[in-house]
């Protein structure tokens, strides 16, 4: 079936009814994907898509997925950084779609850092 504007209207009505508008508050975990030339050329776009999809599928609240420019280490792209309140930043490198999904389930759901994908392991 073709997507129609009516459908978008229906989505709006549904969202307006259960107003649990996701607020950007300080308790949120932030997942940041590097989206400059090196990142994009190395595959950052499917990594971002996978993270957004996985966060949504698992209905994770208090997680915001954002994009940034150059993180600075081209040969380690795609790079994903995770900022959790009260914890040290974790930097994942050489990401791909599968690793990204694994990071969502292990790190964000089970609270276990996936050491083998971190920048520390790559150096």
């Amino acid at each position: 079936m073709k997507k129609s504007i009516e459908e978008l209207n229906a989505i709006r009505e549904r969202m307006q009814q259960n107003i649990q508008v996701r607020t950007e508050n300080a308790d949120n975990t932030r997942v940041v994907v590097g989206m400059a030339t090196c990142g994009i050329a190395a595959g950052a776009r499917p990594v971002l898509t996978a993270i957004v999809d996985e966060v949504n599928r698992r209905k994770l609240k208090n997680v915001t997925v954002t994009q940034t420019g150059c993180i600075g280490v081209c040969r380690l792209e795609p790079i994903v950084e995770i900022y959790e309140p009260g914890k040290e930043k974790v930097t994942y490198v050489n990401m791909d779609e599968n690793k990204a999904r694994q990071v969502v389930s292990e790190h964000l759901v089970n609270q276990r850092v996936v050491d083998e994908y971190t920048i520390g392991a790559a150096k």
Binding site: R12, M15, M35, A41, R45, P46
Partner: protein, 178 residues
């Protein structure tokens, strides 16, 4: 860069970094000669003549994380290698427009790639920027304007997952049509 949709994502990131609030992306089939033309136009901070004259060199960047800028030189090279052209115009305080064309039947011509994923990625990261995407073929014109979508959504953010999913499918349907 593997395909044109990735170049478009990359060139649009420049526009976003230049503070653009409106970004207009066009992909056009040109029949004689057989070219595919892409353009990205923004209302960001623009470049002065000096920077503009050097920006297709792979060593020009205003980034501070490294000393090479690659996005624009890569696009120019890809266009010219396929028998197409590259052009950039910019004015300080007004904005920038980049146009690149590709010889479609040339063996070095990159594929178009997943343009729906590029548009959705841009909206996901920048729900408050207005993106207009237009695809012109001999079959007709398709366009998507996030300003119109925002009017329908009445405050529901454009980067809500369900909305992004709708946009992706809407774009994919259009792609199959034209």
């Amino acid at each position: 860069m593997e395909d044109l949709s990735l170049h478009i994502l990359d060139i649009s990131q420049n526009s976003l970094r230049a503070g653009a609030k409106n970004i207009f992306i066009v992909i056009r089939d040109l029949p004689e000669p057989d070219l595919l033309e892409i353009s990205v136009e923004d209302d960001g901070s623009g470049m002065d003549e000096e920077l503009l004259s050097r920006v297709t060199d792979p060593f020009v960047t205003t980034r501070d994380t490294r000393s090479i800028g690659l996005g624009i030189p890569l696009l120019k090279m890809a266009a010219e290698m396929s028998g197409g052209r590259f052009n950039i115009t910019s004015e300080t305080g007004k904005g920038t427009k980049i146009v690149a064309s590709f010889g479609r039947s040339h063996i070095d011509s990159p594929p178009l790639g997943d343009i729906a994923e590029t548009v959705v990625t841009l909206i996901q990261g920048n729900p408050d920027v207005r993106f207009r995407y237009e695809r012109c073929t001999e079959q007709g014109v398709f366009s998507l304007d996030t300003k119109e979508l925002a009017e329908i959504l009445q405050g529901v953010p454009l980067n809500e997952p369900e909305v992004l999913q709708w946009i992706r499918e809407y774009l994919e349907d259009a792609d199959a049509d034209i």
